[in-house]
């Protein structure tokens, strides 16, 4: 961290304009980002920084326009396949030179793979967060359950929960991606990280025995009434009350679910977290941990300042501050940064750094190409409503694979 700062001071004075586009539109992340930009501005008083914050959903469509027409100098986006269209269209700047520097090479090594396409790096990560099962600790105690580590325990727990008149899991699949999270875990636990990636890259068949096994496992939970009814009409937020009211006991989600659960009145004694249990004991545990990133558009005007800003955002010092519980409430990517003392962040950090030997995936819709993600997640939603249709759903996905990957 000191090295980074010294390096920045040693650099020639930065001047001119630096235009930054952000998709961190929620109040807390927005404030965290503005704080980080403010500290960067203090270091470089001659630099005129303009920040534009765009609504997160709108950003996803606007980025295509502003990258080509009126590019900022720095823009937020996501790692892995989600950045591929822009990399391939030549709209993101190659920042491999940054990744040669010591700080990146050593402290950010864990995400280098997610930032790499064609052997080059195209951006810098600033945060990531774990996925896992958030559950009602008090209900577990009431029913005498413990955190499951195997599939058998998981199903035994679920059977007891269903018996008590509750659903094991809440989920809202209206916007599809939540079902993608379930598929990620079911498939990574059944077939492992490598097969999962092959499938998402289009190198494995959706009608293979492996994928069928994944769906068979998933179907066990569905058939026993493990999921809340009518989930296809709810967004992920609309599915939260089921857990808050105790009608459902757990939620497979990203760490961002903790804040709304707390706001809804659940105390930390009532919520807890466990890693998704193993299904196939021969398969190493792998996790979903989506990474959010900064990029320099190829058409940026002030690339020197932009590179300096990326160094700033990658530094251990900054990442500690912006990922704190009262800011983003997520995990810093920089290994030298410290994790805020929060029950869930600690558990997530421990899980990702020492208990995911299989690997770390981004997320279904970031690892798979967008078109495939859409078709597949629609299939998952249909499967969760009509599990008996699995064969026709898989053949549809297989046809989509034939069309999409060329």
């Amino acid at each position: 961290m000191l090295g980074g700062a010294a390096f920045a001071d040693g650099h020639a004075k930065l001047s001119g304009d630096l235009k930054i586009f952000l998709d961190t539109s929620n109040p807390a992340p927005r404030a965290a980002m503005e704080g980080a930009i403010g500290r960067f501005g203090e270091k470089h008083p001659d630099l005129n920084i303009e920040t534009t914050v765009i609504d997160r959903e709108a950003y996803k469509t606007q980025i295509r326009n502003f990258l080509t027409a009126d590019a900022p100098d720095v823009a937020t986006w996501y790692a892995a396949n989600r950045m591929r269209p822009y990399v391939e269209a030549g709209l993101f700047e190659d920042v491999s030179d940054l990744w040669e520097e010591d700080m990146f090479k050593e402290d950010l090594a864990s995400t280098k793979g997610a930032m790499t396409i064609d052997g080059k790096q195209w951006g810098v990560p600033y945060t990531y967060y774990q996925w896992g099962v958030y559950y009602r600790e008090d209900i577990f105690k009431e029913l005498g359950l413990t955190e499951p580590t195997t599939w058998e325990e998981e199903k035994a727990n679920c059977a007891k929960i269903v018996e008590s008149g509750r659903a094991c899991y809440t989920i809202g699949t209206k916007f599809l991606w939540t079902a993608g999270g379930w598929f990620d875990y079911m498939n990574m636990r059944t077939n492992g990280f490598d097969f999962h990636m092959q499938l998402l890259q289009g190198d494995a068949s959706w009608e293979s025995d492996e994928v069928k096994a994944t769906f068979a496992n998933w179907k066990e939970l569905i058939d026993m009434g493990g999921f809340i009814a009518n989930h296809q009409t709810y967004s992920w937020q609309e599915a939260l009350p089921f857990m808050v009211n105790g009608e459902a006991v757990a939620y497979l989600m990203g760490n961002f679910a903790v804040a709304p659960l707390r706001e809804a009145g659940l105390s930390d004694d009532q919520i807890d977290f466990y890693q998704f249990p193993a299904i196939n004991p021969d398969v190493a545990l792998a996790e979903d941990a989506p990474t959010d990133t900064f990029h320099i558009p190829a058409n940026a005007q002030n690339k020197d300042a932009a590179r300096e800003f990326l160094r700033h955002m990658a530094s251990a010092e900054e990442q500690t501050i912006i990922n704190a519980g009262d800011a983003l409430g997520q995990l810093p990517v920089n290994a030298k940064a410290s994790v805020d003392d929060d029950e869930f962040l600690n558990q997530g950090f421990a899980m990702l750094s020492s208990n995911s030997p299989g690997g770390v995936a981004q997320f279904f819709d970031r690892d798979a190409p967008a078109e495939m993600a859409k078709v597949a997640m629609e299939g998952f939603q249909e499967f969760m409503v009509k599990p008996d249709q699995v064969d026709s759903i898989l053949s549809k996905l297989e046809r989509a694979r034939g069309r999409i990957y060329k």
Binding site: E57, K60, T61, R64, L67, T68, P85, Y86, E88, A89, L91, K174, F175, L176, A229, N230, Q232, T233, D365, A370, E371, A373, K374, E378, G379, Q381, E382, V385, K396, R399, R403
Partner: protein
């Protein structure tokens, strides 16, 4: 043009502008509108035709593929996939949306009386047309909600099980159309109310003397006089049904598993939404939608032309 044929005694003193003012002036006023129409409507239509022959993600080079996008649409149709669903739902929309016309007429007849406070009632009936489609969509989403929606509460009173209208692939489209009918009926009602104001009281009187009343009066005397209103109601309802988009986007996002899509929404999904950006394919869908609209537009233009000639 008739100006030019006038005797030319004083012609040398009059400029071209002075001679042709009568014919040129309207065109001058029309030019801005025509230019905008050509650039923002006609030209993009042809651009879409052209784009539908390419594969393009909106960023890189467009690749010419001939009619392959249409071929893919055809296969989707055969497989009863997304395109088939959209087309089928569009047809359901077209047919059921027309219910707004008789419903509007019925309410208009009902409200066309002189009672104290009738203006208030008329406003209340017209109200749904004034509020945004987004609000209509949200209100109906809550109405249908399987957990706390009033629909299921009422069904519970009469001992019927909860139904998830928007979560069931067989009911979702009808549920959305019902939501759409609410404002559309109000629109048709207002068209008929104005139409009823223009009904000739002497003809009603004459009809009454001849012993017509009730349905006979409505069918043979009133309705023929409401023809212009019916025509407009028909036009706006057909167009409204074909462009149905906002309600679907708000209430279901095309779901569950794509079963409430219509062509306009599918086009948006494919070309412009988060996982889309198949511009050529989207354009091909748009062309199909355009072709369907063209059938109706041609019919409207033809019947308007016939009216004018009379």
């Amino acid at each position: 043009m008739t100006q030019a044929a006038l005797p030319t005694a004083s012609a040398p003193t009059r400029s071209y502008w002075q001679r042709n003012q009568q014919t040129l002036a309207p065109w001058l006023f029309l030019i801005p509108a025509i230019l905008f129409f050509v650039f923002y409507v006609i030209y993009p239509v042809f651009q879409s035709f052209n784009l539908s022959l390419y594969v393009w993600d909106g960023l890189g080079e467009a690749e010419y593929v001939g009619l392959r996008n249409y071929e893919d649409l055809y296969y989707e149709f055969q497989d009863r996939d997304a395109f088939y669903t959209s087309l089928k739902n569009n047809l359901i929309w077209l047919v059921l949306y027309l219910l707004a016309i008789p419903a509007g007429l019925f309410i208009a007849l009902f409200l066309n009386q002189t009672v104290t406070g009738i203006r208030l009632y008329k406003s209340l009936f017209f109200f749904p047309f004034v509020i945004s489609q987004v609000v209509v969509g949200l209100v109906f989403t809550w109405f249908y909600d399987p957990a706390f929606g009033i629909l299921n509460v009422v069904l519970g009173w009469v001992g019927m099980g909860p139904i998830n209208v928007l979560g069931n692939e067989y009911t979702v489209t009808y549920g959305i159309i019902l939501a759409g009918l609410w404002p559309q009926t109000a629109y048709c009602m207002i068209l008929y109310l104005t139409g009823l104001n223009a009904v000739n009281p002497e003809q009603i009187e004459a009809g009454r003397l001849d012993g017509a009343k009730g349905l006979r009066m409505l069918w043979h005397v009133v309705l023929p006089q409401l023809r212009p209103a019916t025509f407009i109601a028909f036009v706006v309802t057909i167009i409204g049904a074909l462009r149905s988009f906002d309600l679907i986007s708000i209430m279901t996002g095309g779901g569950p598993f794509g079963s409430s899509r219509v062509l306009a929404y599918y086009m948006f999904e494919v070309a412009l939404s988060e996982y889309g950006f198949r511009m050529g394919y989207g354009a091909a869908i748009a062309v199909v939608l355009f072709a369907i609209m063209m059938v109706f537009i041609a019919y409207f233009l033809w019947s308007m032309y016939r009216e004018e000639k009379r």
